[in-house]
Symmetry: C2
Subunit: 283 residues, 2 copies
Amino acid sequence: MATRLDGKVVSKRILSELQQTVTGLAQQGVTPTLAVILVGSDPASQVYVRNKQRRAEEIGVRSLMFKLPEETSQKTLLAKVAELNQDPDVDGILVQLPLPKQLDERVVINSIDPDKDVDGFSPVSVGRLWTNEPTVVASTPYGIMALLDAYQIDVTGKRVVIVGRSNIVGRPLAGLMVNHDATVTIAHSKTRDLKALTREADILVVAIGVPHFIGADAVKPGATVIDVGISRGADGKLHGDVDADAVEPVAGALTPVPGGVGPMTIASLMAQTVELAKRRLHG
Amino acid sequence: MATRLDGKVVSKRILSELQQTVTGLAQQGVTPTLAVILVGSDPASQVYVRNKQRRAEEIGVRSLMFKLPEETSQKTLLAKVAELNQDPDVDGILVQLPLPKQLDERVVINSIDPDKDVDGFSPVSVGRLWTNEPTVVASTPYGIMALLDAYQIDVTGKRVVIVGRSNIVGRPLAGLMVNHDATVTIAHSKTRDLKALTREADILVVAIGVPHFIGADAVKPGATVIDVGISRGADGKLHGDVDADAVEPVAGALTPVPGGVGPMTIASLMAQTVELAKRRLHG
């Protein structure tokens, strides 16, 4: 049976270490501060934002919440971002996506100071990642690397196959993996004979949002399988992109859904907020 | 025998089309202008810069040459870049690398206005590439895509294996290939069992600078092979990373060295300079 890569346990440990770091920073007069902008009342976004705030408070990170009405204009939103860019007490700025349709996500994300872009979505952050410069990275890929690291699964020289090429998971994870010396393949909806490809993976990452897409026949025996998908089924339960019951006997290690990648994502957001705050000490 | 992917012929056609575009732009009062900064007297750099100037002149692109002494300070160089950033008559700015060691390449490249960064090396350009936004791209990857396109070799759904992960070839080419729906693998010095991997490639790109590294046993019969390497051997001749004599009977298509990727690179620089100049018409 596959080792369970327990994101709940690992993220708790990371958050507890962060709490100590934050206490140390407070003694030096720095309170790491995350500014979250939520436009409108999308129910899922509200849940995500509340979870982020809760984690922040638990570890002593100050979270500033800005709720703007659904009909907020681009100008008003950009002015808010500009104000937070200027505020020396704000370390990280996060604009919760998706935005109402009158707003241009690209323009808004690009307006965040790259040195406060804690989601790592701006072109400057993405460019720094791909040129292997120090940078903030999208939280999910960062969390996946931290989870592998916690279980001492080294990626150097490994065949890593990433299914899904989104800007928030697949692409940035590929950049991180290349920087960490993995041999990386990016697969997607246009990939032919996907199973033959995924069966070559020492580490298989699936991030497409199709429940139970990956069965046992798509996994090399002993492989590490990272399941990023999370969808609610007709049965009311949460399902990953991996058919866990089928894959568990084949894989060497597997992330559960829920409780795998999800908790690592929020912990990673906190870790990077704290990292950004540390810069205040060094100017 | 493999089809010869003739970069000389294709680049000539592209340059001749560009010449017509430039003539049209001139009639609208726009002369595409490329500013080249060369610091010091590296002999190879001088040759590259001269070739770029010559091509520019041939097609009616104005090239401004700024030769700065070896001992130029970072401040002086940054001031020069800032001046060119401001100059409305300059469309593209290129700082020839490598720079003398007192200068920080990263800082210098990052100081170029992303909208004039004709080499595509700045984080903003790289980030735009990887988020699939319109952008300038490094010339060599751009040229490879143009060469494949000229021979109607579609990359959609194809297995593309790129050997080499440099910032100027491997990484940006991977981004372009993902954006064009290829299934992309990035391999490098830490990759294990490289031959098994390269033999899976429908399109194999090699950019490592090791003469004759790829033999017939590393190529799938019928594959397209793109040889980016160019080194001068003890025999005084130029050699690619591919053992062309051995691979030609196996591959479906192959770029010669010289006369394959090389001429495409300069044509791509010109193509992108002209593209940048077109923006002047639309504001």
